[in-house]
Amino acid sequence: MTVTAVTIPIDRPRRSALGWAVSDTKAITWRNLVTLRRTPQLLVFSTIQPVIFVLMFRYVFGGAIQIPGVDYVNYLMPGIFAQTVTFGAIQTGIGLAEDLHKGLIERFRSLPMARSAVLAGRTLADLARNVFVVALMLAVGYAVGFRVETGVLGLLAGVAVILLFGFSLTWIFAIIGLSAPNAETAQAASFPVLAPLVFVSSAFVAIDTMPGWMQPFAEYQPVSVAVDAVRSLMLGGQFHDPARVVGSLAWSVGIVAVFAPLAVARYRRTA
């Protein structure tokens, strides 16, 4: 083995600190997307569960759930979108916990790269994954009878709301991932947080069928608000409710505003 002389000048582009943060984030995002492509089982796991839910609620439970004035499949699919991105956010925590555990983050911390790039690259890659997963669920929904009632703009606006919501959640799970000793714990710690959010919500049933004490939580928690916003945008009619759209955007922006700085602080402390 021979090493070429150290004196060869290194070709280093000149960029501002922000420019480097962007290019570092791009590099990490690329790396995470390559990982996703090379481990298709990750994608399969995160899509098979929602597909099963679609089929179960469409064909098994759906017959027993009556929502006046709408085909249940149309009511169901916005709930499925929210459920998919919510459970999918666990992957953010798992990915970070794995990087931490395998020593990759330790190496990243010794590099002159931007401190924010590891987290931003992870959440952006997970946003890209959500684009794919939501598109897939739209196709599955279409196959079982789901129809957008408001046209292309409504569809795109609904997708944007759900993607933003999913992106905001990844920051919460980034903190769990950075705090967990390993990927298994990150996953186990996430589920108890997620189950009540997804199921005590308007995702699958109308909130007024729940016990009275449960209704205030179900009404205002972020998953319900996101689901109602998507229904408003994709279905319109009796679901038309601009306040829920604004509410969902507020939830998403608020979650990012609180949890992104917490996640970055957590990352800086993580050794």
Binding site: V3, P13, T35, H101, G103, L104, E106, S110
Partner: protein, 330 residues
């Protein structure tokens, strides 16, 4: 230039009640190799993590090329390379992709990152595996890639935390060659190791730490000289004879019966002269040794003499076990 490549002064770190570093001093002049030796949990890795900006010291001074690590971490990061105790490379990326990613994250241009990846894959004999995901690599290949990843941006200061643990002897010798060449070109290296032979081969200066304190320092030969110039090993085939030989020989120098019970180890100043004396003494006692060997002391002997226990072998198992142990015990 008399500025030190690496400097630690009264370096202190505690984790809760555990004192990892209780005021450690060492320095590596530019272009030299400093070997940091010590058993698991001695504080070696903690010192490396402080000097590589991963961890903040509780007290003391840490500098790389004269730059204070705590106040200008970014400037330090641009000048250092770190290869960890376990292979911190991405399993799902290919070897080439891993090195390219490191190039981008150390702020080379895309073209330079690719070129450097090609060069290093050739240097570390990984060209054939360059386009395969790392999860298909053997342990030795990963370890080589890990060291290559530390060299992507040609850092003038290199931290190698047990770089050859788990490598086969051939790969280890190859890696030593690479390190020696980098040093001949002016790179400063801090090397932690449990292989005393490795420190003996590579390090200009050695610092031995145990329980967060420096317990010895010097060149390999200086450290060996503290043990005694020569070691005479006498195999007497059975423990009773060994004990008899030990009492008979005690006047000649520091004398010990080996753990196997039938070998006596005698540390003496003047080897060949002492050997004659030893043979005479054994003969007059009617003891007939199976073998009598003269050897130079190794750093293992130094370690044993200093710490009262044998240097531990390489940690077994894969990288992830190492990671866990490191987080807990470092």
């Amino acid at each position: 230039m008399d500025r030190d490549g690496i400097l630690a002064e009264n370096l202190q770190k505690r984790f809760g009640d555990v004192v990892a570093l209780a005021g450690v001093d060492f320095a590596a002049p530019t272009g030299t190799v400093l070997g940091l030796l010590g058993p698991n949990g001695a504080g070696k890795t903690t010192a490396v993590r402080i000097l590589t900006t991963i961890l903040r010291a509780d007290g003391g001074r840490a500098e790389v090329l004269g730059i204070p690590v705590d106040r200008e971490p970014q400037a330090v990061r641009e000048r250092i390379g770190l290869a960890g105790q376990y292979a911190a490379v991405d399993e799902n990326l290919t070897g080439h992709e891993n090195l390219r990613l490191m190039g981008l994250l150390t702020h080379l241009s895309e073209a330079a990152a690719r070129r450097r990846a090609d060069e290093l894959l050739a240097t570390f004999d990984l060209v054939d595996a360059a386009r395969r995901p790392v999860r298909t690599y053997s342990g030795g290949m990963r370890r080589r890639l890990d060291v290559a990843a530390a060299l992507v941006h040609r850092p003038p200061v290199l931290f190698l935390d047990e770089p050859t643990t788990g490598l086969d002897p051939g790969s280890r010798t190859d890696l030593w060659g690479v390190i020696a060449q980098l040093v001949s070109e002016g790179t400063t290296v801090l090397l932690t190791t449990q292989y005393l032979e490795e420190a003996d081969r590579l390090a200009d200066n050695i610092v031995v730490i145990d329980h967060g304190r420096v317990i010895a320092r010097g060149t390999a030969s200086e450290l060996k000289a503290t043990v005694g110039a020569t070691i005479i090993e006498i195999d007497l085939a059975d423990p009773a004879n060994a004990q008899r030989a030990r009492s008979a020989l005690a006047t000649h120098g520091l004398c010990d019966v080996d753990t196997d019970g039938h070998t006596v180890e005698l540390k003496v100043k003047d080897g060949s002269h002492a050997a004659v004396e030893v043979v005479r003494t054994l003969d007059s006692e009617g003891l007939d040794p199976v073998s009598l060997t003269l050897r130079e002391p190794t750093l293992d002997d130094v370690f044993l003499a200093l710490t009262g226990h044998v240097a531990e072998g390489p940690p077994s198992g894969d990288g992830s076990a190492g990671a866990r142990e490191r987080r807990g015990a470092a």
